[in-house]
């Protein structure tokens, strides 16, 4: 049996018993490698994926989420601001867009909360949980 090695990444992408798979390096192995394996120093090495989450990454994901949730209703803020600049009474429009404004406030509150949670995270497990929270949050 031969491991099929992607020569760009040295990752084992599979196995074969034929003589050539174009574009790949074939390495004789005694057993079928499974899971994540890499070709290093002439050998096939199995590796457990090790992913390190950082606070910087989580903050970036938080900002992306914040932007993606606020952007669809930015026009409301723009409209109200414009009205203010020409001294127009915005009371009626504030009432009209109350649910939008409330939702934006809730999103901003969530953002402040998650910001603190990220800063106080101390383990990879904490950070993975936070990442899951960020990815699943869809506003109030």
């Amino acid at each position: 049996m031969k491991a099929i090695v992607d020569t760009n990444t040295n990752a084992v992408v599979g196995y074969t018993d034929i003589d050539e798979v174009k574009g790949y390096l074939l390495v004789e192995v005694d057993y079928v490698p499974s899971g994540m394996c890499y070709y290093e120093d002439g050998k096939i090495i199995a590796k457990t994926p090790e992913v390190v989450l950082t606070k910087e990454f989580l903050h970036q994901k938080r900002k992306e989420k914040l932007n993606s949730l606020l952007q669809p209703t930015d026009y409301v803020i723009l409209k109200l601001t414009e009205e203010l600049t020409i001294d127009k009474d915005i009371t009626a429009n504030k009432a009209k867009y109350k649910s939008v404004l409330d939702n934006r406030q809730a999103i901003r509150q969530w953002n402040e909360t998650i910001k603190q949670v990220i800063d106080s995270a101390s383990t990879q497990e904490d950070m993975q949980n936070i990442l899951n929270q960020i990815e699943s949050y869809q506003g109030s």
Binding site: I4, D6, N8, T9, A11, V12, V13, G14, Y15, T16, D17, I18, E20, V21, K22, G23, Y24, V32, P33, S34, G35, M36, C37, P49, V51, L53, Q60, E64, S68, L131, N132, E135
Partner: protein, 307 residues
């Protein structure tokens, strides 16, 4: 455990319909053909144009004529004599899908599919993880199911889960995000005693880009070529994950590579350029390549006790 030991009886008997549908469909179909138990087919199908809807069929001979590009989200053909691909196959979809193919029928996959299914690679949605053998999306979306053993590909988790349906589910790549067009790799299943591939067979996740958001690549698809004798010319067999490109203020994440299995009980003549790579990532503050998918090119016997 050898495949035939299940057929000839074990402590846990399977009913005939379970044998037929319970394993990965193309393998069960080929096995039953070799035993002379597959229903006799007399119809030949020749495609002279791209059909208006995807094909899932059983026939005697199947041909795609030269000059034709089959372009649908999946194709599943079991032919009792031969499959000849003189035109190209290009399967893709605008969103993730999972189907169970059986004897010319297609059903949507039920919920509860597990990690042990032939699936394409991951994009970023659905947490970026492919459900099965494809690679994960860039950064921390790594699949733990790449490079499955061949027995796992044939048997799945039949004995550990008891849910037979899971073992006949095939899933596309997972779509990415951040760009307008999201095209994932589709599903190609071709099974026949004799398979001749003379043109490209494609099920790759398409490249995407955006300059106004982070970009998450599209997952690659699934390609199964299962037969007695398979001949592949100087063509591309591609289930790669899609590349992702963004602007310097955002991050780019490549799509996960897909899953290709080329398995024959007789011979494999292979001159193809095969690709299950994870998608590249470029242009961003951080660029995370997609994880490579899985590739099996293997001759085997249903009577091999070492499967």
């Amino acid at each position: 455990m050898a495949f035939n030991s299940l057929l000839s009886g074990s402590s846990r008997y399977l009913l005939p319909y379970q044998i037929y549908s319970g394993y990965r469909y193309p393998f069960s179909a080929l096995c039953i053909m070799q035993q002379g138990l597959f229903p006799t087919q007399t119809n030949d199908i020749t495609l002279t144009a791209n059909p208006s809807s995807p094909i899932c069929t059983v026939c005697r001979n199947f041909t795609i004529n030269s000059g034709v590009t089959y372009s649908q989200k999946y194709i599943c053909v079991v032919a009792t004599n031969s499959i000849t691909i003189n035109g190209s196959i290009d399967c893709s979809s605008s969103s993730y899908f999972a189907f169970s193919f059986f004897n010319g029928n297609v059903v949507n996959a039920p919920s509860g599919i597990d990690n042990d299914i032939p699936s394409g690679g991951g994009g970023y949605l659905n947490i970026g993880l492919p459900y099965g053998f494809g690679g994960g999306a860039g950064y921390n979306k790594t699949s733990l199911n790449v490079n499955p053993t061949f027995s796992r590909v044939i048997y799945g988790n039949l004995y550990s889960t008891g849910f037979i349906i899971k073992n006949s589910v095939f899933a596309s790549g997972v779509e990415g995000g951040g760009a307008i067009t999201k095209i994932v790799g589709g599903i190609v299943i071709l099974c026949a005693p004799t398979i001749n591939i003379n043109r490209d067979v494609l099920a790759y996740g398409r490249d995407i880009s955006s300059t106004s958001s982070a970009v998450y690549g599209n997952g690659g698809g699934v390609i199964y070529l299962v037969g007695n004798n398979i001949t592949i010319g100087s063509v591309n067999i591609n289930a790669k994950g899609g590349n992702a490109t963004t602007a310097t203020t955002y991050d780019a994440y490549g799509g996960g590579g897909g899953f290709i299995v080329i398995a024959a009980t007789g011979s494999i003549m292979n001159n193809a350029t095969i690709n299950v790579s994870g998608g590249g990532a470029s242009g961003g503050t951080n660029n995370y390549m997609g994880q490579n998918g899985s590739l099996i090119v293997k001759t085997f016997s249903f009577y091999d006790s070492q499967l």
